[in-house]
Structures are given as C-alpha cells and as structure tokens.
C-alpha cells in the first residue's frame, strides 16, 4: 500500500497526463482539449506555489543557522533573514509603489546581481590565459574559431581586420550550423528516450522516488 501511494500513483499520474497532452495535440475532439486545458491550468497554479519553495527553504535554513548560533555565519544569516522579511512585507504592501520595496529592488538587488555576474568577465579572461593553448589541431581549431567570433563582434576589430566579418559569418552559418544541429539532435534523442522512460514509469528519480520507494 505504501509503495502504491508513494511511487505507483505518482508514476501513473505522470504517464496519464503526458499521454493525454500528446493525444490531445493530434485530435480535434473538444473533450480532449477541455480536459487538457484543465490539466495545464492545474500545473500553472501548482508552479506558482513552487516559486515560493526556494525562498521558504532558504528562510528555514538560515533561521536554523541563527538559532544554532553557528560561528562565523549566523550574523550573515541574520542579515539574509532580515532582508527576506523586510522585502516580503513591504512587497505585499504595494509592490513597487512601496518606497522601501522599490528602493531595495532598484538600488540593492538589481545592481548587486548584475555586479556578481559581471565578475565572470575577469575569470573568463584569466581562464583564456591559462587554458587556451593550441596544443593539438583540435585545440587550435577551437581557439581560432573563438578568436574569429570575438573579433567580428567589436566595431574596432571589424574595421581593423578586413574580411573578419565575412569569415566569421561563414563559420557561424555553415560548418558551425551543421555541427550544432547534430549536437541538438543527439541531445534531443536522449531527451526523448528519457521522456519515454519517465512515461513508462521506469525513471522514478524524477519525482524523488528511489528504487526502494
């Protein structure tokens, strides 16, 4: 009974929903479309709840860190929890019309997130110095292509090196397209195989069920 509730029924739900969506696509029978619409609307509402899961998990973890007074981290966790609480309360009281929420969004969140990701430029430049070596023909092709694509994107380098734009465009639209198509098709064959396994209930890890249940 326990295995039926924990594993079998969720697997059946996945299979039924997936097959219904597929059959619906190939029929014009209104019954299939109406039920399919209800299933999709259910999924959208459940997904709305799932959006809160990350925030609540983070809140739970850091609250526990504060309670346990973990040395060296509880103070930072207190900052995080305070930020979550202030942001949530002020956001529910007017969204971006609330001055505190608007300030924390525009002056703290957006610039900080952008800056964190901008650090990647430094690491990519350092990585190019350490890793981009033409040690064999394949590495040389890799390096040459990367250089051509980079140079064709800047107006100064485009003007400096005649023909770089045409060469770069040819590489992108001809040999690169063939290779990337093959890569896409190979990946999607794997995805289709995985989908079939999930629909047939052979892959329960996707819902968090192990072999034992």
């Amino acid at each position: 009974m326990s295995v039926i509730l924990r594993k079998t029924i969720p697997s059946i739900v996945i299979g039924v929903l997936a097959v219904w969506m597929i059959v619906e696509y190939f029929t014009t029978v209104k019954f299939f479309t109406d039920i399919g619409t209800i299933f999709r609307n259910f999924a959208v509402i459940i997904a709305a709840f799932a959006v809160a899961l990350g925030g609540l998990s983070s809140l739970r973890f850091h609250t526990q860190t504060i309670i346990k007074r973990k040395a060296g981290s509880w103070e930072f966790s207190a900052v995080l929890v305070a930020a979550i609480v202030v942001m949530t309360v002020t956001g529910l009281m007017g969204w971006l019309d609330n001055p505190i929420f608007s300030y924390l969004w525009n002056q703290v969140t957006v610039p900080s997130q952008q800056t964190i990701y901008s650090l990647l430029m430094f690491y990519v430049a350092a990585a190019a110095y350490r890793a981009m070596r033409a040690s064999n023909l394949q590495a040389a092709i890799f390096m040459f292509t990367a250089i051509v694509i980079m140079l064709m994107n800047g107006p100064f380098t485009q003007a400096l090196i005649p023909g770089i734009t045409d060469l770069g465009n040819w590489i992108l639209t001809v040999p690169q397209t063939g290779a990337s198509r093959a890569y896409l098709i190979a990946c999607n064959i794997g995805i289709v195989a995985l989908f079939i396994r999930v629909i047939l209930g052979r892959e329960t890890g996707i819902i968090g069920a192990s072999k034992e249940g």
Partner: protein
Amino acid sequence: MAEEKKNWMNSINARQVIFAAVFIVTIVPILFPLNLPLVISKTTIQYYDTVQKLKSGNTVIFVWNQGTAQFGEMGPPGIAQLQQLMDIPGVKVVVISTGAESPGLFESNLWPAIDPKGKEYGKDWVNLGYIPGGETAIAALATDTWSLVKVDWKGTPISQLPVMEGFKSGADIALIVGNQPSSGEEWQRQFQNKFKTPIVWACVSAGYTTALMFVNSGQLSGILNSLRGGAELELLIKKPGRGVSAMDAMSNLHLLVLATIVASNIIYFKNRGGKKK
C-alpha cells in the same frame, strides 16, 4: 632595496595584471568614446524588417524573460525591441513573462525607458506579468488564453481590457517578439508548430550559436545577438542608447582576451621548445 623590489614584482601574478587590464581597457573607451560606425548584421536587418511588416490591428506577444543578472546585457536590446513595437501605429502588444524576476525588471527598469507614443494601457497594450509553469503555461496560452489568464498583473479582469479581445488563442497572434536567455524553442513548439506564428528573438550571446540554427531553418525570422544586436537595432530605430555606447569597450575587451591568448601560447610554445631540448 633590489631584493624588496624583486619580492614585490614576484608577488604580482598574471591574474592580477589581467584583472587590472580588464578595468582599464573598459574604462578608457567609456571616458573617451571613439564612436566607430557599426556594421549592422544580416540577422538584425531580418529582425527589423519582420517587425516593420506588422499592420495596424495586429496583436503581438512581447516575451520578456530576463533575470536581474542579464539585465545589463539584455536590457538595451529589450528597450529597443519594445520601442520599435510602440513606434508602429495600431499594433497591440501583450507583455508576458515566464521568469520570476522579469515583472519587477519590466516595471522598474524597462518600461520607464519607453516612449509609448500615445498607446494606452488596456486598449493598446497590457502586461500579463509572470505566468509560471514554463512550457506548460505557454501551451495553455496557445490553446485557450482566456481559460488560463483571468486577470492582468495588476489584478484587472481581462474582460475589462479591450486589447485582450485580440488574443484568445495562438491563432490570433501575428508575431512573437522575445527577449530571453535561450532561443525560445518552447514558443516554436507551442505557437509556431500549430499556428505557424512568426517569431523574432533576442538572446544572450551564449545562445546565439543555437539561435542561428533556427534562423537558418526559417523557424526564427530574425535574431538580435545580445548587446551588439541591441546596439544595431538602436541605430535602425534611430534611438541610440547604452548599447551603442558599449561597443567601443566591447572591442577593447576582445582585444585584451586575444592578447592574453597570444601571450599564453607564446609562453606555452617557448616552454615546450625548452623541454624538448
């Protein structure tokens, strides 16, 4: 004294030099812009022409799906895209986000930079906000929009928004204009497969190689290559902004990376030649 100088020099490593160089080569062209002419790429021209073919009364979906991290890169193209749609008289725009951070960015960072050219909210454009569920939500929108969407992002019932009369399913959409990190494959599967809806897209540079495949096969009618594509579109719609002003620094950074690669290879081959001896 000489020992102290030697120790100081030894403590500087290549990484720190590269980091400092990244700052310098970016700051200089922003302070002293060269304003070099920009060659507009074929895919951007395709994008622009496809959007310009829209007629009065057409309903367009503007997919705004960027996070705060990518806003610096994709904000300028997004502003140019939405401005082009607002510039065309009579075109109705439905803004949809499929990422949680997108509605906040739209309201506080994107929309304030737009000149609506007299277009009224509710009558000519609407913001449906964030619709969770990824491709399932897109499929729901394509099949029966009014079944899924009951209110807009502000909570106004869509029955009170005249613009939504023109969007009951995917068949009513004349064009999908997207701004998203990936190349919009889920919109191709749910809208284009069934309704043959043309799609134009702006994606991050890392997704450009994949997106080109879809341009080549005709599934995308035009693509903007992140900040560079945004700069090109800014020039085409005659509203140069942050995209155009970033291009000089872009060239410099690429030259810096090229210099590090060349330096790295010189050292590598020199050491390899030394080892062989």
